[in-house]
Subunit: 146 residues, 2 copies
């Protein structure tokens, strides 16, 4: 870590360990050519795949199925000006395999909304980046896409 830049880059496993501590993250995608962001609850699969569960007819599914998205989770203490932020970037896809759907129905995330047609969305952990913010330093300049 550069002692002057105020953050420490996190390794992939550390990123995933931190992500697993929080129930809600934010999915970042493009909608009508504009940047879009939506808080969602999630879980992590063994390999770091981000799993969402939502309605098959949701606008979210239509927007992200087959697209490259970013999924961000963080825990920032504004008083101490410290915390961490992790981003998983990769392709999002609706789980269509019946056996995989069944597995996720048992082990995957539980949607907060009662949906008649629930589907699971996988976000492949193609890029996992994160930064820990050193107390009293800023999140500014933490390029999570680096």
């Amino acid at each position: 870590m550069d002692p002057n830049d105020g953050f420490r880059e996190l390794g992939r496993q550390e990123c995933l360990r931190l992500m697993a501590k929080v129930p809600v993250g934010r999915i970042v995608y493009t909608c009508q050519a504009l940047p879009a962001v939506l808080p969602v609850n999630f879980s992590l699969d063994g390999d770091g795949t981000v799993l969402l569960c939502t309605s098959a007819v949701s606008e979210l599914v239509r927007a992200i199925d087959g697209a490259v998205v970013a999924f961000e989770a963080d825990d920032v203490d504004a008083v101490r000006q410290s915390g961490w932020s992790v981003v998983v970037t990769g392709s999002a896809s609706v789980v269509t395999d019946p056996a995989e759907h069944e597995r996720l129905a048992r082990t995957g995330p539980v949607s907060w909304v009662p949906a008649s047609q629930e589907v699971f969305i996988r976000i492949e952990p193609e890029l996992v980046t994160g930064r820990e913010v050193v107390g009293g330093r800023s999140l500014y300049g933490v390029d999570l896409t680096a």
Copy 2:
């Protein structure tokens, strides 16, 4: 509000009132053709303009100056499955007017990082959308870009 969809759409003023309660949001932009997201502290100008303060040489400035970005703030209680999320979408630009820079140096956000060349970034509130999540319902389907 549709009693079945689990959220209530917020008006512009209510969105801005809620945003003003939290010190940190997340800027959503595109970097190297990929979705990018970065937590940052911020303040709101009178008209709802989102103000950031960062280093003139930061990667963030290079990525967003002149671009349309989204800035999201939220407060979600995962236990109660309730909360709110607000997104301001608009053009981001570095403040270059000396008088405006001086005004923001007095009244704008304070960067968490000691930067020798601080600049202020304005995000125009061209689109301000938000949703309040009803307890026990999900954030899923809350299309903040609608």
